[in-house]
C-alpha cells in the first residue's frame, strides 16, 4: 500500500512522542485499542487551570497510519481548550492524512484516545473537587 506524504512525514518525524506523569492531577491519560487488534494508542494531555491543553504526548503501537494519526492528533489539540479538542472528529484526521478506507479505524482510534484522555482528566478533577469539598 502506498502511504500519503503526510503519513510518511508524521511517521518519520513524529511530533510529541513521550509520556507525562500519569499521577499528576493536571494530566489526563487515554489508553485505547488492544494489542491483539494490532494497535494501541496512549495519548496524554496536561491541562492548565484555564482548561487549555498545554502539552500533549503520545506513544503508539501500530502501523504507520496509526502512528501518524496519533502524532497529528497531539499536534492539533495542543494549545486548544478541552472543549475544542473534544470536537475534533476522526474524519478530519482521516482527511488530512488521506487515509484509505482500510485505515480509517486508525483515525477513529485517535479520536477515541483524545476523548478518553479528556474524560480521565475530568474524572480526576471531579474526584479532587469532591475530596476538597469534604475537607
Amino acid at each position: 500500500m502506498a502511504y500519503s506524504d503526510k503519513v510518511i512525514d508524521h511517521y518519520e518525524n513524529p511530533r510529541n512522542v513521550g509520556s507525562l506523569q500519569e499521577t499528576d492531577e493536571s494530566v489526563g491519560t487515554g489508553l485505547v485499542g488492544a494489542p491483539a487488534c494490532g494497535d494501541v494508542m496512549r495519548l496524554q494531555i496536561r491541562v492548565s487551570d484555564e482548561g487549555v491543553i498545554e502539552e500533549a504526548k503520545f506513544k503508539t503501537f501500530g502501523c504507520g497510519s496509526a502512528i501518524a494519526s496519533s502524532s497529528l492528533a497531539t499536534e492539533w489539540i495542543k494549545g486548544k481548550k478541552i472543549e475544542e479538542a473534544e470536537a475534533l472528529s476522526n474524519s478530519q484526521i482521516a482527511e488530512e492524512l488521506s487515509l484509505p478506507p482500510v485505515k480509517i479505524h486508525c483515525s477513529v482510534l485517535a479520536e477515541d484516545a483524545i476523548k478518553s484522555a479528556i474524560e480521565d482528566f475530568r474524572k480526576k478533577k471531579a474526584a479532587k473537587a469532591a475530596l476538597d469539598g469534604e475537607e
Partner: protein, 407 residues
C-alpha cells in the same frame, strides 16, 4: 562490494529468475515457437521435444518414475485445485472424506471448503506450536470413507517442514491417496515421491528461480495408478488431465530451474542456512523479546520468521522500506485478521501482529544480511521507544492483566 538498495528478502513469496533460466527460455519465444500439440510440422515437433525433455528432467527432480507422471499447469494454485477437486470427483464413489491441515496454503484450504459445500467431509488437522503435524493424528483421522490426505512439504510463512515420509508410510499402509503441496520445500529439503510414497505433488517454477505462471502436478501412474477428473475442459492435453496449449518457453525454463537446483541446491542450502542463522543471531543478540516462529531445525533453509514484541509488523516494514519482507500482521491483509498460520500454531494475536518473515534466497549476500540485521535493530529500538506496550513491559506491567477495549 557496495550494497544496492532495495534488498529483496521475500523469497518465500517469489524468486528472481536465474539468468541461466532466461537464457534457456529465449529461443522458445521467437525461434521454436510452435504449438507442442501440432503434429503436422517441425515447429510443433520441436516444441513437443522440448516439453518432453522438460518432463523427464522434472520427473527426475521429484524422484518420479517417468515423465508421463508430470501434468503441466499454470502454477501450484491450479495444481492444488486439480489434485483435490480432481481426486475428489474421480473417487467420490469410494468415499467422501478428505484430511488436510489447518496451515495449508489457501489454494488447498479453499478447494476443501468448496468440496465441503458439495457434500465432502474434511478434517483439518491441528499443528503443534512449531507448526508440525503429528503423523499419528493423520492415522487416527483416517476412516473407511477417506480418499485423500493433503499435507504440505513446507509452510510458506514459517518454513516448518512436515514429516512427509512418516505420513506417506501411513497413507500407503491404509490405501489412501497422499497429495503433497511441495511448492516451498522442493529443492530446499529432501523430497522424493517414491521414497516418501507420495501420489500427487504440486510444484511451481517461480519459487525455484524459474518463471511465474507455470507449475506441475505429479500424478502417480503405478502402485497405485492415480486417476483424476479434469477440471479444465478442452483439447484434452496432458493425457486428458489438463487442457490448454502448453506454455513451452516457461516449461523449458521450469526444467532448467530444476536442473540448476539438482546441481547446486545442496550447497546453496548450506549457504542459506548459514545466512539465516547469521541474521537470526545478529538480531537476537542485540534485541530482547524477539520470538522465533516455526521450528528451529525442521525449517526451510532460507526462512526466518521473527516476532518483534511490542512493535507492529506493518509499522516496522514501513521503517525498513528499502528491504522487501512480509508480515503476518493484520494490517497487511485485506481481512484485518492476523495470519491464520501463526494463529493455528497458538501464537498470541499480538505476536502475530509483530511478525516479520525474511525469505533468503540464491541472490542474497552476507553484506545484505548484515545490513538488514543492523537496520532491524535500529528501527525496532526506535519503534519500541514510541510503543506504549514496551514502556509498560519495561515498568513491569503484565500486558495480559490489562482489560483492553478492543475494536
Amino acid at each position: 562490494m557496495t550494497l544496492e538498495l532495495p534488498i529483496y528478502m521475500d523469497n518465500n513469496a517469489t524468486t528472481q529468475m536465474d539468468p541461466r533460466v532466461l537464457d534457456a527460455m529465449l529461443p522458445y519465444f521467437t525461434k521454436v515457437y510452435g504449438n507442442a500439440a501440432s503434429r503436422t510440422h517441425r515447429y510443433g515437433w520441436e516444441a513437443e521435444a522440448a516439453v518432453e525433455d522438460a518432463r523427464e528432467v522434472l520427473a527426475q527432480f521429484l524422484g518420479a518414475e517417468s515423465g508421463k507422471e508430470i501434468v503441466f499447469t499454470s502454477g501450484a494454485t491450479e495444481s492444488n485445485n486439480l489434485a483435490l477437486k480432481g481426486a475428489a470427483e474421480y473417487y467420490k464413489s469410494k468415499g467422501n472424506h478428505i484430511i488436510t491441515t489447518v496451515i495449508e496454503h489457501k489454494a488447498v484450504l479453499d478447494s476443501c471448503k468448496r468440496l465441503e459445500k458439495e457434500g465432502f467431509e474434511v478434517t483439518y488437522l491441528p499443528v503443534d506450536p512449531q507448526g508440525r503435524v503429528n503423523p499419528e493424528d493423520v492415522r487416527a483421522a483416517i476412516t473407511d470413507k477417506t480418499i485423500l490426505v493433503s499435507v504440505m512439504l513446507a509452510n510458506n510463512e514459517v518454513g516448518t517442514i512436515q514429516p512427509i515420509k512418516e505420513i506417506g508410510k501411513i497413507t500407503r499402509e491404509k490405501g489412501v491417496l497422499f497429495h503433497v503441496d511441495a511448492v516451498q520445500g522442493v529443492g530446499k529439503t529432501p523430497f522424493n515421491v517414491q521414497e516418501m510414497n507420495v501420489d500427487l505433488a504440486s510444484v511451481t517454477a517461480h519459487k525455484i528461480y524459474g518463471p511465474k505462471g507455470v507449475g506441475l502436478l505429479y500424478v502417480r501412474r503405478k502402485r497405485p495408478r492415480v486417476r483424476l477428473a479434469a477440471q479444465m475442459d478442452g483439447g484434452g492435453h496432458e493425457r486428458g488431465n489438463r487442457s490448454g496449449t502448453l506454455n513451452v518457453s516457461s516449461i523449458v525454463g521450469f526444467a532448467r530451474a530444476a536442473e540448476i537446483m539438482m546441481a547446486e541446491g545442496a550447497e546453496e542450502n548450506i549457504r542459506l542456512i548459514s545466512l539465516r542463522e547469521r541474521l537470526h543471531r545478529s538480531i537476537s543478540e542485540r534485541l530482547e523479546e524477539v520470538v522465533l516462529n516455526g521450528h528451529p531445525e525442521h525449517r526451510l533453509s532460507g526462512n526466518l520468521n521473527l516476532s518483534f514484541s511490542f512493535v507492529e509488523g506493518e509499522g516496522l516494514m514501513m521503517a525498513i522500506k528499502d528491504v522487501a519482507v512480509s508480515s503476518g500482521s493484520a494490517c497487511t491483509s485485506a481481512s484485518l485478521e492476523p495470519s491464520y498460520v501463526l494463529r493455528s500454531m497458538g501464537l498470541d494475536d499480538e505476536l502475530a501482529h509483530s511478525s516479520i518473515r525474511f525469505g533468503l534466497g540464491r541472490f542474497n549476500t552476507e553484506e545484505e544480511v548484515d545490513f538488514v540485521a543492523d537496520l532491524m535493530v535500529d528501527k525496532v529500538q526506535r519503534l519500541r521507544d514510541m510503543s506504549p506496550l514496551f514502556e509498560m513491559y519495561k515498568s513491569g506491567i503484565d500486558l495480559k492483566s490489562i482489560e483492553w477495549a478492543g475494536h
